[in-house]
Each structure stands twice: as structure tokens, then as C-alpha cells.
């Protein structure tokens, strides 16, 4: 009853303040994160808030995290995560340094990890038959190319498991999924390391326009959405007329469409097919220098459509070059539809699948006022009462990546340097950099849950507990070592405390406590001592409670 009264009061305040509300939030959040507005309106207990932020701004708690956040204060911890540069990232970098390919440019990679297709083409130019040594080289190239991808995947998992800059990793994952590319398409994997390093990560908490521009010029996106081979239609004037080198295929609308539909305005963002065509025309000439040898962005005037274009009501005058594409990025970045689309996606990620519309509106307002400042949008979310509402608590289903990383963090695992863990993420349905279509993996929980998926999730939890995941060992987990020697009741308490964040229904506790088949009645009590500590951990990691965050 008191709950409802509080909610009603909060609603009244919201309605009365109208648009003024969000500016109030901004004012106070800007002054000091330790003094966030609306703290008295938070429905979650202090203890729940600690767990909540560790599940949302981070990939779950490692042992000791909850105590650290509690000591520092939830709001100060949030403020710190919003400034990743203030957090020491050296140990993470030391770990990923063991994968030198991650730091290489596409050009270096293409030299060191020659592509199978490229070798074929070279040998084809010289002779018609392949010798046995050619075949060996091709085999080796195939192996290296697979290794390149597994290293990228392994590093992504490792960063999420060990980095203290957790919010940055969450946001890198968010944007990599928003601006998804598919590693299996042509030479895409050679561009991926650079894509994450130079296009996504530096802007993950920065200005949306900068991020969008970096993505638009990345060989990864130019290749994935085919813009690199989009050229002025033969019926239209090129910016520089030159006999076309090689095949000229004409206009390719792929990037133009997805830029509007998936990257900025959203499918209902109010654009027409003519806008798609004109956006595609504006980006003609944005291409990749020799994608299979060099792989850098270049603007080619000879491919560019020099005619006038009208995009979303704005006229791009004739005779311009690279400015056309830049102008389109400016236009879509400033569109209210984009503010709303991005706000809704962020709220869905951080708050709940239903994305409370009032919060989406406020975040969209922040986006518009701040010139698309991602950090400010997040600040608005984390300061909102919706974020700390009862409805948002444990409301999200973990994606396979989140499940794996959170389980490894819960048992204090060392990062895996083998491809094994990344393969498990794939087996659970989310091969990293492996989503074929440009819409990315679903942000909604129901998409991840089906018959078979639960089976894989349970088996993953059991595998962690059984020591079948490299890096995860109960013996290396301080709490685990301690608990292993204690009586069963203390073990169950400890597992519920550490893995299930102290939250288990009475039924769950009962099942964990019973060492027997709970459905077989009391005759099976003889089994009571048949299992050990690892079983309890496996059950907890496989439990429904652990599938949520």
C-alpha cells in the first residue's frame, strides 16, 4: 500500500514538472554524482541498489565487488564507471597484449595472416594448377584466419571478465552490437581489431556523432554493408569523370538503408525510399583502399555522385565531395528520431525490456540537449527512479555473453587464453562477431530463452563448477576454498550469498540443501551425502535465478 502511494506521488511530481523535470535531473547530476536527485524515490533497498548496479553497469559481481561498491557508495561508484579513464586498466591491457594481432592494422594483418582467397588469386595469376605446397600454404592460411577470429573473441571475453572499467566494456559490447558487422563476410575479420580499437572503444561513452562518423569511415562497416563498392549510377554525373577501373556496379543502397533504419532514425523514423537512395548517393566514393591488401578508408571522387540530393528535407548542393556524407551524418545525428531511437535502446539495455516511455523521453531530451553525449544519456538513466525501481530489479534476462562472463566473475575465474570460453558463448547462441544480419543480437530477453537454450545454459553452469572451463577453478576461488571445508548448510548459505547475491527463493534454498531428489519423497534421504560442494555451485549457476541480472 505504501508502495503504491509512493509511486502515485512520484507520478504526480513527474506530471506536474513536465519537461522541467529532466533539466532538474541534469542540473543536479552535473553538480555532483554523490547528490543525485530522486534518491528518496528509489524503490530498491540500499543492498539491492548495490547488486543492481553491478548487474547493469558491470557484467555481474566478482567476490568483494559488492563490499567495495557499498563502501564507496552506489552513486560515487556510478560516477567512477562513467569516467573509465580514472580507473586503472593496465592489468587488462597486459593480458590482452598476449594477442599481438589485436593491436595490428589491417595492412599488417593482411601481410602476416595472408588470406586464403588472396593466395588463390595470386597463384591463379601465375599458373593454372596448384601444387602440393600451394595447398599447404592455403591450409595454413585458413588456420591462421580462424585463429585471428578466435583471438578477437577470446580477448572480448577476457576484457569483460577482468576489466575494472566494466561500464566501458558494457558499452563497447552495446555499440558493437548496435553497429554490428559479421566476421564471416570476406576479409571482415582483418578489420575487426581496428574497428573495436579505433572506431568503437574511443567513443563508447563519447559523442554519438563522433562514433557514427568513425563507424561510417571504418573499413569494417564499409565492407560489411557494401558501401565500399557503391558507385555513382552511370546515368548521373560523377564528381571527377574518369574511365572506371575494373567493374563499376552502380549504386548500392545497403549502407544507406541500414544507416537510417538500424544505426540512427529507426525503422519508423520517418524516412522514405527516396531518402535511402539519396543517402546512398551521398556516400558514393566512401570506400576502402584495396580491401584485401591494405584496408584503409579513402574517398574516391571518381566514384562519387556529384548531383544535388535531398535528404530528409535538407538539400545537399551539387558538386560536393566527401562533405555530402558528412552532412548526412550531421543531419541524422541531430534528428529527434535518432535521439529517441538510441535512448530507447539504451533504456532497454540498462533498465528493462519494456523501456519505460517516460524515461525514454527524458533520455532522448538529454541526447538532444547535449548534442548526442552518450555519457550524459547514461547519467540520466542511472539517476532515474525507473532505473532503481522495483520493476527493473532483476528484470533482464542475461544474454549468453553476459551469462558466461557473470558466471566466470562470480567464481573469480582467471581469463581464459584458449578459444574454449568463446566457443561456449557461441554454443549458447551468441557467437561473438558472428551475427550475420545487420540488426545485431536481440536486446530483449525472450529472444534468448527457448527449449534447448536452457539446456545449454544449465550445462554451462555445470561445466564451470566441474572445472571444465579453463581459468575457472573452485580451488582458485577464495570463497570456494573456504566453503568447501564447511558443513553443507554453510556451503548452501555461502553459494547463495556469493553466486546468487543472497537471493534465493525458499524453494531454491530447499533444493540446494537437499542432497536428494526433491521429487522422490523422503525415501531417498539415503542419498543425502551423495554430492559435494561443486554440485551446489553447479546447481546455483544453472538455476533460473542466475539467468537474470
Amino acid at each position: 500500500m505504501r508502495h503504491i502511494a509512493r509511486l502515485a506521488a512520484a507520478l504526480l511530481v513527474l506530471m506536474a514538472c513536465g519537461t522541467a523535470h529532466s533539466s532538474t535531473v541534469r542540473l543536479t547530476t552535473a553538480s555532483s554524482a554523490g547528490d543525485v536527485a530522486g534518491r528518496e524515490l528509489r524503490e530498491q533497498t540500499a543492498d539491492e541498489q548495490v547488486k543492481h548496479v553491478l548487474n547493469r553497469l558491470a557484467f555481474g559481481a566478482r567476490p568483494g565487488d559488492a563490499e567495495r561498491v557499498r563502501e564507496m557508495g552506489v552513486d560515487r561508484w556510478i560516477a567512477m564507471q562513467l569516467s573509465p579513464a580514472s580507473i586503472d586498466g593496465r592489468s587488462t591491457e597486459r593480458f590482452v597484449a598476449r594477442f599481438p594481432a589485436l593491436a595490428m592494422s589491417p595492412e599488417q594483418l593482411l601481410a602476416e595472416y595472408p588470406q586464403r582467397q588472396q593466395l588463390v588469386r595470386e597463384s591463379r595469376a601465375q599458373k593454372s594448377d596448384l601444387t602440393a605446397s600451394d595447398s599447404m600454404r592455403l591450409k595454413e592460411a585458413g588456420r591462421l584466419s580462424r585463429q585471428l577470429l578466435t583471438e578477437l573473441q577470446t580477448a572480448k571475453v577476457a576484457r569483460a571478465v577482468i576489466s575494472d572499467r566494466q561500464l566501458e566494456e558494457v558499452m563497447v559490447d552495446f555499440w558493437e552490437n548496435h553497429f554490428t558487422v559479421f566476421a564471416g563476410k570476406g576479409p571482415e575479420r582483418y578489420f575487426l581489431g581496428e574497428y573495436e580499437r579505433e572506431s568503437i572503444r574511443p567513443h563508447a561513452l563519447g559523442k554519438f556523432r563522433d562514433l557514427l562518423g568513425a563507424v561510417a569511415k571504418s573499413p569494417a562497416m564499409l565492407y560489411y554493408l557494401d558501401n565500399w563498392e557503391s558507385t555513382v549510377d552511370s546515368a548521373r554525373p560523377a564528381l571527377v569523370s574518369r574511365a572506371p577501373r575494373g567493374k563499376s556496379r552502380g549504386l548500392n543502397e545497403n549502407y544507406g538503408r541500414e544507416l537510417l533504419e538500424l544505426h540512427t532514425l529507426g525503422v519508423d523514423g520517418g524516412y522514405t525510399q527516396a531518402d535511402v537512395v539519396n543517402v546512398a548517393r551521398a556516400f558514393t566514393g566512401w570506400t576502402v583502399e584495396k580491401p584485401r591488401q591494405n584496408g584503409t578508408f579513402v574517398f574516391r571522387p571518381a566514384m562519387h555522385d556529384a548531383g544535388e540530393k535531398i535528404v530528409l528535407g535538407h538539400t545537399l548542393p551539387a558538386g560536393r565531395g566527401i562533405e555530402d556524407g558528412e552532412a548526412v551524418l550531421d543531419i541524422v545525428s541531430r534528428s529527434p528520431a535518432t535521439a529517441h531511437f538510441i535512448a530507447a535502446k539504451l533504456v532497454r539495455r540498462f533498465v528493462s525490456d519494456s523501456a519505460p516511455p517516460a524515461l525514454v523521453d527524458r533520455v532522448a531530451g538529454t541526447f538532444a540537449r547535449s548534442g548526442g553525449d552518450i555519457r550524459e544519456c547514461l547519467r540520466t538513466i542511472f539517476a532515474s527512479q525507473e532505473f532503481f525501481s522495483r520493476a527493473a530489479y532483476k528484470a533482464k534476462v542475461k544474454s549468453p555473453f553476459e551469462l558466461v562472463v557473470s558466471a566466470l566473475r562470480a567464481v573469480s575465474a582467471q581469463p581464459d587464453s584458449t578459444p574454449r570460453t568463446a566457443q561456449m558463448v557461441a554454443r549458447l547462441g551468441e557467437p561473438l562477431y558472428g551475427h550475420l544480419a545487420p540488426n545485431g543480437y536481440p536486446e530483449r530477453g525472450d529472444a534468448w530463452i527457448n527449449t534447448g537454450a536452457i539446456l545449454q545454459r544449465i550445462n554451462f553452469g555445470l561445466a564451470v563448477a566441474a572445472g571444465r572451463v579453463p581459468g575457472a577453478s573452485l580451488a582458485n576461488w577464495p570463497d570456494g576454498r573456504e566453503l568447501a571445508a564447511q558443513p553443507r548448510e554453510a556451503q548452501v548459505d555461502g553459494v547463495i550469498r556469493t553466486i546468487l547475491a543472497g537471493e534465493a527463493s525458499p524453494d531454491t534454498r530447499k533444493v540446494l540443501e537437499l542432497g536428494v531428489n526433491p521429487m522422490a519423497g523422503d525415501s531417498a534421504a539415503a542419498n543425502a551425502k551423495s554430492d559435494g560442494f561443486a554440485n551446489i555451485v553447479g546447481l546455483a549457476l544453472g538455476a533460473p535465478e542466475f539467468q537474470r541480472r
Partner: protein, 416 residues
Amino acid sequence: MQRRVFLKSGALALVTMGLSPSFLRRAVYAQALPRAQKGKVLICLFQRGAADALNIVVPHGDPNYYALRPSIAIARPGDASGAGAIDLDGFFGLHPALSTLKPLWDRGLLAPVHAVGSPSATRSHFDAQDFMESGTPDVKGTPDGWLNRFLAAKGTCAECELRESPFRAVAFAAQTPRILEGPAPTIAMSSLDDFTIRATGTDVQRLEALYRTGSADLIHGAGTETFDAVRMLKSANPQKYAAEHGAEYPRSPFGQSLRQIAQLVKSDVGLEIAFADVGGWDTHVNQGGATGQLANRLADFSQSIAALVTDLGDRMDDVMIMTMSEFGRMAKQNGNGGTDHGHAGALFVIGGAVQGHKVHGRWPGLAPEQLNEGRDLALTTDFRAVFADVVGKHLGATRTDSLFPGFTGGAAAGVL
């Protein structure tokens, strides 16, 4: 999916720790039903990588074929080498490695369709597979696969949903393939042996109790279904069905997938759609002719299918097999004794109800002016026309237009 889960778990919410009676009833119920609605099965087989249709269903009657492929063409039937095409109708023949499919042709069970594929001009494996599985060429935003749209459209009454078998749609793949993505529940598994909880019996029961108690949400609902499915599979024990009628499956992953599909069909777990895929068709280099790389792939492919047909025996009356590949390969061989990405391809429909003894699809010819973009076999049959024909007539889908939104060609392929 969601509604279905809530329907099921709504009942379960009443159940607490002492859940034996209702739980037992459910288990019996789940096993009794599929037998009652024993029905038709469609098995879809995807050849990923763009299979070279011109060397699979060989147009030996088209003189241009031999001009385009001087070193990799399949010789005419009766060639002195003894490695000529297996003649079908005087114009087309099967690659010699497909000899195990010839008896199916002779029995009228095999319907090849030529010059079939996607109208999209893309030569990207990735895009073309996406289009063939979403069923919407050149539209990338389609969220679900066409087989899932079939499943979702068919199971619309609440009672049907409750009665559905968890094994209605099974893909033998590590992840749910695009073609089965969508709201209707499906199962993806690497093998029947893997579809199990890797724990001791006691722990499995405790895990099940964790999912059967607590709040009636999505996760508990799906978990409940999972345990039903695991139990149902264990009880049906499809592994007990050894191959029959002398069928011999290749030991390859593809052969083993088909062997397990047959086991599922025979164990009456309510299977309606099965899916498996097989790679290795992207033959840019040294693809060979009557022997070699492509021949090896084809031998595995056809022996697996032939074994499946043999194994299923009379049950083939209810089963239809359909193969597909994202596009065909260039008509002209390349400089490496291989073929590059092309356009139209070929597929097989196999089953008792096909119009047999006939190679379907209009042959567009291989003369330079007849080729697509001057280089590939031209398209004369939209893949959706064949798929709609098969799903409409075999599985009884009434609304094939919603399976393939935007497609107005209709199910006019006449394969069935």
C-alpha cells in the same frame, strides 16, 4: 513463444515442491500426444557455400556446357571413360557421384529442379543464405526465418500450443539456423547424445525442481519445456532405432545428422520440420570433374540422403526431403580449375508425392546471350515458388503468401 510458455507455466505455478502428481501426468501427456497426431515431416538440407548446379544436374544435351567447362565438365552419358553423367531424360544427367540417387529417380521419388534460386543479384554467400532462409530476397530486416513463420502460423489455437511436441522443429546445428529463427519454439542440437543434462541423476532432478518451482516466468516456462523434452527424448530413446533395410549412413557429420533425423522420425516424438546443413561447396579451386573435390562432397551428400530414404522405408510416405543452396556457380570454369560465384542453381525434392521422372524448371540455355550478366545460369524459377509448393501441398500450409511476404509468384512450380 511467450504466450505458450505462460499457458504452460500458468498451470505449473500452482505446483510447489511436492509436484509429483501433476508432473507425472504432464510427462505421460506429453508422450501420448504426438503419436495421436502423427503427421507429415519436411526435412530441409542446406548446402552452404553455393553448390555447382551445372556439375550436379548436368545439362549434357547443351553443347555450350562443354565449351564453357573444358577441363571440369562431366562427360556425356556412355562416355568411353566410364565416368560420364548418369542420364535422366536424354538432356540432363546426374553427376556420377550421385549414383545412389538414380534408383530414387527410377522409382519416381526424385524431382530435380534446375535454374532455380533467388532473384537477388547478390553474389555474397552471407546475403544469399540470409535471403533464402528469411524467404525475403533483398530484404535484410526480416526478423524470422520462413520455416519458423510456418510453425508460428500453424500453431495458433491455445490447445494446439499446449499439445505441441517440443520436437516439432529440430535443427542439427550448434545454433538455431536463420531459417528456424522466430517466435515458434524450435530445438537446435549438435546430436541426440548431446541433448541431455550433464549431471548425475540426482542433480538433474534437483535442477528440474529449481525450474518447476518459483515464479511462472519465461525462464521457468522454457526450463520446464526443456526438462519435458529431455525426458521425452530419453523415454522415446531414438538411439534404439538402428538403421533398417540395410541403410548405410556415411560416417560424416552430415550422414550422422541424417541418421539421427531418421531416428527422430521413427521414435514418434512429433517431429514436423528437421533441418541439417553441410558445407564445402565453395569450389573456387580444383573442384575436379567426375572425381575430385566436388565428387567427394556429392558422394557424401547423396549416400547420406539415399541411406535416409532406405532407412525410413514406408515412412517416406509421410516424409519430404528438400535440398537448397544459396546460389549456383559461374557457367564458365575459372583459371584454377574451379568455379566462381554465379546465380541460379538446382535443388532436389524427394518424396512419395513428387512429380517424378522429370527435371523441373524451364532450361534457359547456356549460350552467351542466355547467360545471366553474361556469365551465369539464368534464373527461371524463384525458390519461393518451390518452397511454397512443398510446404503448401506436403505440410498443408494454407497461407503460403504470409510465408513469403512480397512474393506474388505463387506456388506454381508443379513439383508436387
